[in-house]
Amino acid sequence: MTKSKLSTWLLMLPSTGMLALLVVAPLAVLVFASLIQGNNLALDAALSLGNYATILEKGLFFPLMGKSLAMAGSVTAACILLAYPTAYGLAKCVGEKHRNLLVVLIIIPFFTSQLLLIYSMMVLLQANGPVMSLLGLFGRNASTSILYTNFAVFLILLYEFLPYMVLCLYSSMCKIEDNQLYAAQVMGAGKARRFLDVIFPLSSPGLLSGIIIVFVPAAGSFVEANLAGGTNGMLIGSYIDTNFSVSLNIGRGCALCVLFLLVLCVITLIINAVIRGVAGRRL
């Protein structure tokens, strides 16, 4: 018995060590560094809440955080609106033969580099590119472009995260039995009732993981805004990034990270409670 305990312990050692040293410890250092003024990262540095005070006073944090949350929220909402019918169609309407192919097609972008997805969307939207040429036929100036606006960032994020939402919803819709839908139909439930009382509560675990998998990274995105957001495209992610790669203010950057994580935690808890509550009442 003790021998098997020892071997279990040895099996778990590498990954436990990695989690401790590469997740827990870095986060602890992040919090520590957020209490340091400027860039002097040393054990004996003077600690203060100065960074937090500056951030909250300067007033750039709240508008950018709000903008990121609005962006992530609208991307998530658009993902849900498009992914629900698609996932339902994949799970319940498409024949067995086509289903496999269609699911594989959804997975392909998921396996393709994020940078290439951003880039291909930029090619599509660029001035004199396909979309603008098409709009040009309807009297818009083809040499202007919707690229380098917030809307372009929205489209790119939607493009990147839509497959995640479809896959999450699809996997939980596969578990809904056809008989449950039939039963609801026989009992006289219309399409709306069937969705609200059967499909939605039973697919809510997938919806919940989909929302978290889309919302959290979208709120922390900065590459899309850097590349396609133009001059007014700054998001909280890009603000955090500039503190490390442009203006080099490590203490403030870390404090921003900590605040950002806190906001995300609160929002994740709220989403969790809301979805569980609504779905639970419907069950």
Partner: protein, 261 residues
């Protein structure tokens, strides 16, 4: 359920068009002679020639491939060990452990990348190959465990007991009975790990040594400077490669019924 669903059909067409139109346009543009990716369309393969003769993208691609292979091979070993250990541990520990493991997925990579850079600076490692390796490894590990652990739980334990009772050592029982049983999941986990590492821009952006450019970093720099038509050729090739890999994962039985998440 053989009815017509006009609304669902329409949404599905829109979704698939939205997902594949950009990829399709990029593939088309990779054969277009125009430098700026604009119409009219003139057929040419010169961007593919430039892709293979120009040094920057080719070098970055090789660096990314061997680096991702190294991360994948080591993390598949660690991931399988972890799954074996998790199955033997008590439920309470397993729950805490998987919650912690999921944190590696849920924390935005931006924050994790910054936090890792801080701790590496703090201990004097800084931006280095070792740091980049460790950072990518911790991002990849949860995916391997997420795929391998459920497969291990579904495996019939009696086979292993039988092998042990017949006198096989634990190691021999693992390699001749357990590993073949979970091999599809291990392979799928490995492919997933490779793709996640290969495409992980954010972590590499913060942890790559100065002057070293992996493929995502190289593409980022090229896109930021302006439109570069040889990226079209590269993107086309990479989409084809990922299509082949997705097909492989699917063949291994982890595409349709089981979700990748």
């Amino acid at each position: 359920m053989k009815k017509r669903y006009p609304f669902i059909r329409a949404v599905m067409i829109v979704v698939y068009a939205f997902i594949f139109l950009p990829i399709f346009i990029v593939a088309l543009m990779s054969f277009n002679a125009s430098q700026y990716g604009t119409f009219p369309f003139v057929f040419s393969t010169k961007w593919y020639v430039r892709l293979f003769t120009g040094a920057s993208l080719g070098g970055a691609t090789w660096l990314s491939i061997w680096f991702s292979l190294l991360v994948t091979l080591t993390m598949v070993v660690v991931g399988v060990m972890t799954s074996l250990g998790l199955k033997r541990s008590n439920a309470k520990f397993a729950k805490v452990f998987s919650a912690l493991l999921n944190m590696g997925v849920i924390i935005p990579w931006l924050v994790l990348g910054v936090a890792l850079l801080m701790i590496f600076n703090f201990i004097g490692l800084g931006r280095s190959y070792l740091g980049m390796y460790l950072g990518n490894s911790i991002c990849v590990l949860p995916y391997v465990v997420l795929l391998v652990y459920p497969a291990l739980c579904e495996l019939n334990d009696n086979l292993e007991f039988a092998a042990r009772a017949m006198g096989a050592s634990p190691l021999r029982a693992f390699f001749t009975v357990v590993l073949p049983g979970i091999f599809p999941a291990v392979a799928a986990g490995g492919l997933m790990a490779f793709m996640v590492c290969f495409n992980n821009f954010v972590i590499q952006y913060y942890l790559a040594p100065f002057g070293v450019r992996t493929l995502p970093l190289e593409i980022y720099n090229m896109v930021r400077v302006g439109y570069k038509p040889d990226i079209n050729a590269l993107a086309t090739i990479m989409v084809l490669v990922s299509t082949a890999l997705v097909y492989l994962v699917n063949k291994l039985g982890y595409g349709s019924k089981r979700s990748l998440l």
